[in-house]
């Protein structure tokens, strides 16, 4: 029994039960089922983790009441809350405005969930666990994500509600603004590794210095800068706080989701989390070494556990940010993207080019390589940051102490 290839053994055993003609179909259906089950459950427990963690950050307890149907004494720390939420969402009335474009109003949640799941197909979950090995995996990932924008437009326009439409336009402006830094932060990795295949990118980050320092991209100057830009852009792309203006639940109604209720609303919610998980998975794959273990002596732990662990810590990090930072205004949001992240990402591209051209700088020159590469990114960071906050900081508060 080998834990590393256990999922593959289970799959092959099930596939072997079927006649030869159907095996390819069963093979792919099993991959799809596995993704749906694992990430469906992951989504369910992300919601409860988010609610409990946010509660703790705000000095509350969070949901802790829902137990099991027949064993009332077992509370399980409220861990069954997501299932109760699911039942509530399904049994709620589905309200469709009389004036709405019925087809588009119905299609929007379907499209957004279907396409937000597509990205998972190219993520390498383990050493041997990758649903589809594509040559142009990164391109596929971003191509699959484009349908989100269409779905948001369909939701906003199909609702025939001017607030929905306005909010959809705001959401689109945000998504389009942040797509640029997101893709630009990925390009340096493509440049250094020289491939668009996700599995090869993880393999390129294998190995350790002295057995403890992993060769992950995040531990290089360009990789660190790229990872930070990727994080900010990923937060904005998945409408997470502090960039959750499209449906700032405490200020405007619900943005483009105003006219949605019941299970359709739950589908949008689900798509948002799927998108966040997929983007986090891409971040883990590109910058955090994918399924590689951080130290040589920890390699006995199966690679897919490492991947899921890193993914979960990324999600927890995003929740932590949500509990910490304040929401931006729309003008601050777009200015941050166009005046700060995009130039920085472009400079980072040049930085990666410098890194790719100087692999021969060893010994004392290696220090110079690190210094130059770090300077290329840190100096513009401060200069651009100053320009960004010129006239805005330090703030004077008129009504607060």
């Amino acid at each position: 029994m080998n834990l590393e290839t256990l999922p593959l053994q289970v799959r092959d055993w099930i596939v072997g039960r079927f006649p030869d003609a159907l095996q390819w179909l069963v093979h792919h259906l099993l991959s799809i089922t596995a993704i749906l089950t694992v990430f469906g459950l992951f989504f369910a427990f992300t919601t409860i983790a988010e609610r409990k963690l946010l509660a703790r950050l705000q000095n509350r307890l969070g949901p802790n009441r829902s137990g099991l149907p027949w064993f009332r004494s077992l509370k399980l720390w409220g861990l069954t809350q997501p299932f109760a939420d699911a039942i509530k969402a399904i049994t709620k009335e589905d309200v469709v405005p009389a004036a709405a474009d019925k087809v588009l109003h119905f299609l929007a949640p379907v499209v957004i969930v279907a396409f937000s799941l597509l990205g998972f197909a190219v993520l390498p979950f383990g050493r041997h666990l990758i649903p589809v090995e594509l040559d142009a995996a990164i391109l596929y990932f971003f191509a699959a994500g484009t349908a989100t924008e269409l779905a948001i437009f369909m939701a906003g326009w199909g609702s025939r509600n001017k607030y929905s439409l306005l909010a959809a336009m705001r959401a689109l402006a945000q998504l389009i603004s942040y797509e640029l830094p997101l893709i630009l932060s990925v390009v340096p990795v493509v440049m250094i590794v020289g491939t668009l295949s996700t599995q090869e990118m993880v393999l390129a980050q294998g190995g350790w210095t002295w057995g403890v320092l992993p060769h992950w991209h995040v531990f290089t100057p360009w990789g660190f800068a790229g990872f930070l830009i990727f994080l900010v852009a990923a937060l904005a792309e998945s409408n997470r706080s502090p960039f959750d203006l499209p449906e700032a639940e405490s200020e405007i109604i619900a943005g483009h989701l105003t006219e949605y209720s019941g299970f359709k609303y739950a589908l949008f919610f689900m798509a948002e989390y799927f998108g966040l998980t997929a983007l986090s998975g891409l971040g883990v794959t590109l910058f955090l070494g994918g399924w590689q273990a951080p130290c040589a002596f920890l390699e006995f732990i199966p690679s897919w556990l490492w991947f899921m662990g890193k993914l979960a810590s990324m999600i927890v990090f995003f929740i932590w940010i949500r509990g910490t930072l304040l929401r931006l205004r729309i003008d601050q949001l777009t200015r941050l993207s166009w005046k700060f992240l995009v130039p920085l990402a472009l400079l980072n591209l040049g930085n990666a080019a410098f890194w790719a051209l100087t692999p021969g700088w060893t010994g004392p020159l290696a220090l110079a390589r690190w210094a130059v590469s770090a300077a290329i990114i840190i100096v513009p960071f401060f200069l651009l940051g100053r320009r960004l906050s010129a006239g805005y900081a330090p703030r004077t508060y008129r009504y607060a102490a």
Binding site: A136, Y140, A143, T146, L150, W157, M169
Partner: protein
């Protein structure tokens, strides 16, 4: 294989035809986005993965958004107001011309003896090969496309930007 092609072609043509016939501009744009996705499906069928993903990224992601924004920015009254056909004469002339062109094209395609092997090997091209081609023999063209896109971006902004109210009238 042929069945898949026929299916893709049918969906593609249905979406494109419906887009051209629709009286609702937004529906037209969305149906056309479907047609563009169908074209990406054709590229996938033909084994050109990279082009298929690029098609989705550019057309479904970017061009469709420009079209939708343009529709909303140039509307008169409600966006649901039907956009009627201009006149019967214009529609008839358009369809007759298109029919004539179609006849000529069909005649040319079906009348030409195609010199192809009956069962070609499934053609495919890796991203690495495409990259080598783009950076090698087609490097100049790639640079020119980069310049073209930059100029188009700037041009589009300059053309569509609102003149400041305090500008002197031209």
């Amino acid at each position: 294989m042929t069945l898949a092609l026929l299916l893709i072609g049918f969906l593609l043509l249905a979406a494109a035809g419906a887009a051209m016939l629709s009286r609702n501009l937004i529906h037209s744009a969305l149906l056309l986005t479907g047609a563009w996705a169908g074209i990406a499906g054709f590229y996938l069928w033909a084994g050109a993965e990279f082009v298929a993903f690029a098609q989705v990224l550019v057309y479904v992601g970017a061009v469709s958004m420009i079209v939708l924004f343009a529709v909303l920015l140039t509307r008169q009254g409600a966006t649901t107001a039907p956009v009627e056909f201009d006149s019967f004469r214009r529609a008839a002339a358009g369809i007759i011309t298109a029919g004539g062109v179609m006849g000529v094209l069909f005649g040319a395609i079906l009348g030409t003896p195609m010199d192809v092997t009956s069962a070609p090997p499934p053609a495919s091209i890796t991203v690495r090969q495409i990259g080598a081609q783009l950076m090698g023999p087609h490097a100049a063209a790639l640079l020119i496309v980069g310049v073209l896109l930059t100029v188009a971006l700037l041009g589009a902004i300059v053309i569509a930007a609102v003149d400041k109210p305090d500008d002197p009238a031209p």
